[in-house]
Symmetry: C2
Subunit: 138 residues, 2 copies
Amino acid sequence: MMELTRKGEYAIRGILYLARQPQGKLSLVGEIAAASGVPKTFLAKILQDFTKVGLVYSFRGTGGGFSLARTPDRITLREVVEAVEGPILPNRCLIGAGSCENDSSCLVHPVWKRVRDEIVTILDGVTIEELAGEDHPT
Amino acid sequence: MMELTRKGEYAIRGILYLARQPQGKLSLVGEIAAASGVPKTFLAKILQDFTKVGLVYSFRGTGGGFSLARTPDRITLREVVEAVEGPILPNRCLIGAGSCENDSSCLVHPVWKRVRDEIVTILDGVTIEELAGEDHPT
DNA sequence: CTATAAAAAGACAAAAAAGGTCCTTTAGGT
DNA sequence: ACCTAAAGGACCTTTTTTGTCTTTTTATAG
Ligand code: SF4
Ligand code: SF4
């Protein structure tokens, strides 16, 4: 239950690769895929998701590629996961008004809300810089 | 992401019905299904899961049915969810040794561990008595 | 301005999981 | 013996996951 999909796992691996590259350097899909062991065409889709939400920059044509749009210390694990998997929702009733008729009276509702809030808090508290294992120079 | 399945939702509804019945009374699948709005045959499977892990008692034949195996205050939401969905695992690496080769060096690993521990803590802290909305006589 | 390079977009498809149904068997009562 | 109700298992449909492939767009180099 509550399992991260492969897409989510790949997304993390992919962005970690980018985080480990020298600032401003562009990486090709094929290069990232090979290094992180992710199917190339699948990773391409993931990188598109990243681009859409503004996590990475993409450049087409000769000399193109991908780079982070922000420094690794300002990208949280939550952003990465949500970019490809959508918002963290342990239950439908958290989607919004009307998704479950009795969310006002239901006593289970607040429990799932707590669960979501805890997960979000944890994932928001982790940056990909920490995960990339770079000790940033003081 | 991280969404409870219908089976899990149904499981909660089903056990809440049982929790609201007078102590020791037996309920039929059909009865529980109708009252909680769950497909009868599907609920039957869920109740079988409950029986397997010892959450409910089942009796066959005339006058048979289901009842809780414990008082509602000693059944946690976690037990109910895990009975039908399996253990709470935000990522494969938490399954056990060898499920991911690099779980010792991977910096993401401890994050998922924290996520799981938090979810488990929350769900363990909620009993189905609280959820059933019975104010138990002091 | 044309060839080349690389990402974007979108259609397609296999495999797995979710969500059920149905039928036969087993166990208990009358 | 006969009825009742759960257990077990085979089967099915739909949705989601996990990809692939082809075409289009955008950019650069010569
Ligand atoms: S937890 Fe309660 S409010 Fe949320 S979907 Fe289930 S019944 Fe509805
Ligand atoms: S988080 Fe790390 S240890 Fe866990 S599956 Fe992913 S790479 Fe492996």
